[in-house]
Symmetry: C2
Subunit: 351 residues, 2 copies
């Protein structure tokens, strides 16, 4: 049994969140009871990772509506729900799972037209809890499908954190690693530290080390060197949004990594649940990219490391064109090019 | 007249060094009077940058020998000088300019066989001061030769600091930028912050901002994105050692940047003095690569950012194969492929 941190759970009518801004030095759980607290936790990255943000938002919808009066009309409740959804969506723009979870709750309300507020609230809570269970199953299935990529003794390079901490458990990019380790395979991981917020060294290294998986931290700019030294067998990253043609947004640095992998003849996979796919967008250039504040770069480590007032460019994500992607590891199997076709089939309800 | 910091000078029988570990927040000059102080300053990167290290080492040789007795035999003095040289060389293994400066001082002693110690000491000091003057001239010539690469309005991406702070003035990679700005051209610079020690954000951004050159700091993993957005016209970096076939060592991250530049069709230049060329080595794989302590990555700037005891790989340099290099900007002109030929000609004393 792997020793994995539990980043998110529902207990005593509270959303219990591991505050990931304090890792790796402190393990502290927050107990949230309002949607404003959920919004703040998403905004400042106490909870992060596309799937985990989706789960938090699903509970955020419930928390934001739970005080609606029992006698409120369905129409008024639906309007309040829309407001809550828009509010939660405003916390971060890039990951589509946030929107996906909000829309799933709104669709549920639409299906319960004219039913009482207490009944709808109970259903919203049940739906959010179902999303947790589904997420765990999805992550396990991603691990199962990714397993053949990881033979005995191989080394994986990953970027940012698409591990258990980015989901409810097991992770996406790390799910195949955990699945292989559970099968008794010796797998090692190189983790890009992932500037500016260091999710790779703070979170990925932390959860892998706890789980007993050998992990080596490198700076982002060392990836080309470890590839050239023949140390990497496969690159696996997560995704915040995958669009119809297979272009995908993920943590800044992913795009460069994809180029380096191809230059060194190393397979490059993206692991993500089907809920990350957004077929409404045709090309990666249409994905909104969040820019974050300069201080994340200039005052990253509690100390000023750039001259006062200097210009800074701080996009939180980049877009990797589909031509660099060997495949998408999803809960429904590994999708291969042409992605326009395989992604459409993956998202079709009949499959 | 550009407002440039003076990183190194000789005054009142002391080597005056700007302590670059304190930038960008504090400008403090150190006054060194022993070779042990010079060794420490090189080791912990108070002075860094291949050309500046060479200058410091040349003075370090003088400081380490200045207390030799006037009546000492030439042979004993030569042995003491060899010891001093070996000691200074042990501070950092990769940059060849350090060795070049030590060997230049040893060769001077060899030319003064049987002369008195006070005479040799005076000559060593004169030679070190000559190296400062030469370095300034070399940097200016690099700027002059690189000038045609930078047309009005263009943007340069650079990595680490190969600016005035890495030399005695003007820099290598930044020399063409300063030359173009002095000609009245509008040039902007993107500076990779350069993990782990952030020479890009701490030093390059600092010196460019003081000089009035528009500079934007990015994390290393954002370079691919700014290239894809068409923001970069040319990449210019420095070098710590260039070998016979044109492979070269420079700050970790340079190799990946070279791959990204080629993928985006952006010219990639390396600017360095001829003293950086080491024709004794045939291939880049023969260059010794310094590995530094894990804490530079795990405890970057006063705060722990990786789990205690995690594995870390921390090479300070990487090797860029010559096939990615558009040209070497030297004080003798821009060297083009085939580099085996152009580097040999550049280092030949008859040119």
């Amino acid at each position: 049994m792997l020793n994995l941190l539990k980043p998110i759970e529902w207990k005593n009518n509270r959303l219990i969140l591991l505050d990931q801004t304090l890792l790796p030095c402190r393990i502290k759980y927050l107990s949230l009871r309002t949607s404003a607290q959920v919004w703040e936790a998403i905004k400042v990255l106490r909870v992060r990772g596309a799937p985990a943000i989706g789960v938090a938002a699903a509970f955020g919808m419930y928390l934001g509506l739970q005080n609606c009066k029992a006698k409120m009309s369905w129409n008024a409740f639906r309007r309040a729900a829309q407001q809550q959804g828009d509010y939660l969506n405003s916390s971060r723009p890039t990951a589509v799972n946030l929107r996906w979870a909000v829309e799933r709750q709104l669709a549920l309300i639409d299906r319960m037209r004219e039913q009482s507020v207490p009944r709808i609230l109970a259903a919203l809570l049940k739906e959010a809890r179902r999303i947790i269970v589904e997420d765990m199953e999805v992550c396990k299935a991603i691990g199962r499908h990714g397993l053949p990529l990881l033979r005995q003794g191989c080394a994986v390079l990953t970027h940012c954190n698409a591990g258990g901490l980015a989901t409810t458990r097991y992770g996406t990019a790390l799910a195949p690693v955990y699945a292989a380790v559970e099968k008794g395979r010796r797998i090692s991981v190189y983790s890009d530290e992932t500037r500016p917020l260091l999710q790779g060294s703070r979170l990925t290294a932390c959860e892998l080390k706890r789980a007993g998986v050998p992990v080596t931290v490198i700076c982002d700019n060392m990836a080309a060197t470890v590839m050239a030294q023949g140390k990497i067998d496969v690159v696996i990253v997560g995704a915040d949004r995958i669009v119809a043609n297979g272009d995908f947004a993920n943590k800044i640095g992913t795009y460069g990594l994809a180029i380096l992998a191809r230059e060194h003849g190393i397979p490059f996979y993206c692991a993500a649940p089907a809920s990350t796919v957004d077929l409404r967008l045709k090309h990666g250039s249409q994905i909104p990219i969040e820019e974050r504040k300069p201080e994340e770069i200039t005052h990253g480590f509690g100390r000023q490391t750039a001259p006062t007032g200097v210009n800074v460019f701080n996009p939180a994500f980049d877009v990797t064109p589909h031509r660099y992607v060997s495949g998408f590891i999803t809960e429904k199997g590994i999708l291969k090019p042409p992605f326009a076709k395989s992604l459409k089939a993956c998202c079709s309800p009949i499959i």
